[in-house]
Symmetry: C2
Amino acid sequence: MSSTIKVLLAEDQSMVREALAALLGLEDDIEVVAQVARGDEVLPTAQQHDIDVALLDIEMPGCTGIEAAAQLHKALPAVKLVVLTTFGRPGYLRSAMEAGADAFLVKDAPAAQLAEAVRKVLAGERVIDPTLAAAALAEGANPLTDREREVLRAAADGSTNAELAAALHLSQGTVRNYLSTAIQKLAVRNRAEAVRIAREKGWL
Amino acid sequence: MSSTIKVLLAEDQSMVREALAALLGLEDDIEVVAQVARGDEVLPTAQQHDIDVALLDIEMPGCTGIEAAAQLHKALPAVKLVVLTTFGRPGYLRSAMEAGADAFLVKDAPAAQLAEAVRKVLAGERVIDPTLAAAALAEGANPLTDREREVLRAAADGSTNAELAAALHLSQGTVRNYLSTAIQKLAVRNRAEAVRIAREKGWL
DNA sequence: AGACCCGCATGACAGATGTCATGGGCAGAG
DNA sequence: CTCTGCCCATGACATCTGTCATGCGGGTCT
């Protein structure tokens, strides 16, 4: 708490990452002491930098920002976690909170909220968009089982049942059964819609 | 060329937009004189600001940065156009060039290239990632006809043939024929894959 | 132990989807 | 003017997909 707040910034797109660093650099009390472009570099980098706050994008190669948040929360519980994302998907918010995040920001919020969120989490506050929180609560938890999610995720690229069966070591009939139950749970008509809806909700 | 380069910045996500503005603000010779969050605000805003360069994100509500580029190119041909995008899709590059863009940057390029590109286009140079340019040339032009693209785009959300036929005022058989030819042109097995491939190439 | 949910499977059926042959109308290129 | 390509349509066919009934084994909760 002495002089400046030390921040680790994780975001895969260099231009965005460095731009966010420039933005935070304008604040006198905040200093970006490390930057990474991959989810799986977050924990190792955090361990050798003595940081106060980690700013994590969700969509990253290696592992997602949410998984990185969970790792940090376990290994370095003192570090505050701010999750940043392009998509305001309620399921993401829920997962982020379960992973121990202290703040959840969407990238189309005003830039001023970023520095503000960093200061607030360090003061022990939680920062969550109330509209998104309401949406997350309203739609309930992910209704899909692990297998259903797995099959749906594999089906997302347009694979045929036979390919899915081979890839997942299941019978074709089983693949169709899982997809069928997923389709019913999501109240849609076919796998393509199921994929779309599951994505929108952050359940995929 | 006098004192500073005047830039219009178009990008829908506030946080990213303001961060990019902060980044450009660090350069002594560049000044962001206007910011917009929608494609259809680009031209009107540009007309009342006397700008040198427009920095356009592709994915925006209202209209795409490529459409905005085409409008600017026609109405204010002196303004240099830098197109910025998350996705390095060859088809995007091709469309951007056809719309009169002077530079094409992907967001995972180093941040330093942004200011550099702004200066270069003003000096009359073109800035294009050579790898991407090669890819764009290698894969040729979009093989899909207008109708095929239209049907494929409409099918992307998981709509059924009947819904597509109704929405596009076509018969179901015609919808299936278009999808079938699109599927063959893209050398894939079903509409879902066709959608994915067309998206990846920037042909959708 | 019994009830219950999940994972996995099969078989049968209806409906959706992809392919193919075919043909008419219309525009632009040679 | 003919040729070609695109747009639109139909009908028939094979295959893929989604639904449903049913069953088995394993785990968990009471």
